[in-house]
């Protein structure tokens, strides 16, 4: 083979692979067991790996689709927008980060709130979105959660919150920290009014989010394998200078240590939530 033939050959191979046109997103590798999963199968199992039960992180839309009555969600307070009041700049400017995250997720910030129906019963629901700046809580997330609680105080429907967040949003400095107190204070009013609050802690729920509204459910539910804690595992390892045991800060670990009421698989989450909401709600009317 002459060198020219070799080049021609190479071009042909490239052509052939182009013609095959395999869409890159038909198959997904499980993060945990490395099984290759057909995307359609994964979606029909609510993004839970059929082999190892690994629960993939999902978008708020997917969560609504998997758990609530179809098309029952009415979004509230969707016009609040974050502002870069500290003119914060790390490796990127905060306002650029916001812009990127909005484009990527099609959401205004790291949470959507509103009312939805679960087996015909109306609940107030908040769903955090980890893919929006790590689900971090700044002024907007704190305000939306507080307004959702205030909505519950008015309509007396139970509150269900799905948390997925790295903690407070550093780009808003001390103001993010104050959102922890603001949301927890509102929950104090909710408790006084005896309106049930179910907190579903999804992967991950850390820092300022776990140390405020996420841990304050009348019932705390963990998604299997979710990382839940105050300090991140790396920070702890650096502080105590030892390797953390397997399963440390996972939902099952928290269940064992008395911080969660139950760990519920995504497949049965809808049934569990509907049942709990139904049984707990003192304001309930038969549906």
């Amino acid at each position: 083979m002459s060198i020219i033939d070799w080049f021609n050959q190479r071009e042909k191979i490239e052509d052939r692979s182009k013609k095959l046109d395999i869409p890159g997103d038909l198959w997904v590798k499980c993060y945990k067991c490395s099984d290759i999963l057909y995307l359609k199968d994964l979606e029909s199992s609510k993004k839970v790996c059929p082999s190892c039960k690994y629960h993939f992180r999902i978008t708020p839309e997917e969560r609504l689709q998997y758990l609530f009555d179809s098309n029952s969600f009415e979004e509230a307070e969707d016009s609040i927008r974050a502002v870069d009041f500290l003119k914060f700049r790390d490796t990127e400017e905060y306002k650029d980060r916001l812009e990127k995250a909005r484009k990527k997720t099609k959401h205004a910030d790291a949470i959507i709130i509103g009312v939805a129906k679960i087996k015909k019963r109306t609940v107030n629901v908040g769903i955090m979105d980890f893919s929006f700046m790590g689900g971090s809580m700044g002024s907007v997330v704190g305000e939306k959660i507080t307004r959702l609680i205030e909505l519950a105080l008015e309509n007396h429907h139970p509150l269900v919150m799905f948390t997925s967040s790295g903690g407070a949003r550093m780009q808003e400095g001390i103001m993010s920290l104050m959102q922890m107190a603001k949301t927890s204070a509102a929950l104090q009013l909710l408790a006084k009014k005896k309106i049930p609050y179910i907190s579903v802690l999804c992967d991950p729920t850390m820092g300022g989010t776990s140390a405020s509204f996420a841990m304050l459910g009348d019932i705390n539910i963990g998604e299997p394998g979710a990382l839940i804690g105050f300090a991140g595992p790396r920070v702890i390892e650096q502080t105590v200078r030892e390797k953390l045991p397997k399963g440390f800060q996972r939902a099952e670990f928290l269940l064992k240590h008395g911080m969660l009421d139950m760990v519920v698989e995504r497949q049965s989450m809808r049934d569990t939530l509907a049942h709990l909401v139904n049984v707990l709600d003192p304001h309930r009317k038969p549906v």
Partner: protein, 320 residues
């Protein structure tokens, strides 16, 4: 006492003054003119240094090993401080101390972080980083205060809640979260003084208060500048820059509407004059307690609730 970096030129001047004084005293020459002139220079330099402190330098003062602490202030500000121990569930956490005290005719519950000064005490106090049982002790004392209608005073001085294995096992998050919720519902006034380091959730866990005062060189932050630098910049050396960006100084906290006032410290920082600082704090507490005497429990609760409800900066086209 080792001087802080930016105090070194000052320290050298003071050393010189001491030396001249010694020579003078030995009676060989009269150096009073020289001494006076150097003292004047030192005074000027001191004013210059302390009027142009960067946030990172302020952070160093806030972390000064001789910074006034909760115990010291409890003794100096109040009369008859009696320490109370334990969370009644697991153990007594020495990182948070509390007890009953009197201030004139008032009875108050005092709660605060305790960092410790020498190595031995620092280790015993876990450098002021509480475990969950510290927050649970604090909450027990706050509920007691409510029961006996005593105002609460808290002193904040912690790098943060302890990021350790046992702390996680015993529910660090739950303990802090519960305090935030319960404190917001208290019917007695809570007055908070950030006296040193206000480290994130570890500080907030005893600071959901009607009034939040910052000592002039105290800081309050969502994360330590070092932590922020290593997470966002992936470079711990950027801590100086992070300290600036995070807006952690007493002035910043007030400008953002979170602090209710900055309490002036003696020149050179509170570590130079504890009685001076305690006098400032005492008069502030007296002033506030007078005001709270005229308020009903509901008004006290509402004032605190409204304060925290208002925190947040965002655009809201619908309500605007």
């Amino acid at each position: 006492m080792k001087p802080l970096d930016f105090e070194k030129p000052l320290d050298e001047l003071y050393a010189k003054i001491d030396e001249l004084r010694r020579l003078s005293a030995e009676g060989q020459v009269d150096l009073s003119d020289e001494i006076a002139s150097i003292e004047k220079r030192a005074e000027k330099l001191r004013n210059e240094v302390f009027s142009n402190l960067t946030p990172h330098q302020i952070l160093q003062i806030a972390r000064h090993p001789n910074r006034p602490d909760t115990f010291g202030l409890s003794m100096l500000v109040f009369d008859d401080f009696v320490e109370l121990h334990g969370d009644r569930q697991f153990r007594d956490d020495p990182s948070i101390v509390g007890g009953i005290a009197q201030l004139g005719t008032h009875r108050v519950m005092v709660i605060g972080h305790q960092k410790g000064h020498d190595t031995k005490e620092k280790i015993y106090r876990n450098f002021g980083m509480p475990h969950p049982e510290g927050y649970r002790k604090a909450l027990r004392l706050m509920h007691m205060a409510e029961k006996f209608n005593m105002p609460i005073v808290t002193f904040i001085d912690t790098p943060g809640a302890y990021p350790g294995k046992e702390a996680e096992e015993r529910g660090q998050s739950e303990a802090i979260a519960r305090n935030l919720r319960e404190m917001s519902g208290l019917s007695v006034p809570v007055i908070t003084f950030v006296i040193g380091e206000g480290g994130s959730g570890g500080a907030l866990g005893i600071a959901v208060s009607n009034r939040i005062y910052m000592l002039e060189y105290a800081v309050y932050s969502v994360i330590s500048p070092e932590g922020c630098a290593s997470i966002l910049f992936r470079d711990a050396d950027q801590a100086n820059y992070a300290a600036e960006k995070l807006k952690i100084t007493a002035g910043d906290i007030s400008n953002l509407g979170i602090g209710d006032g900055v309490l002036k410290e003696p020149l050179g920082g509170a570590h130079n004059d504890w009685p001076h600082v305690s006098e400032t704090i005492r008069s502030k507490i007296n002033e506030d307690l007078k005001r709270y005497e005229t308020m009903s429990p509901e008004e006290v609760f509402q004032e605190r609730y409204d304060k925290f409800r208002s925190f947040g900066k965002f655009e809201d086209p619908v309500k605007a």
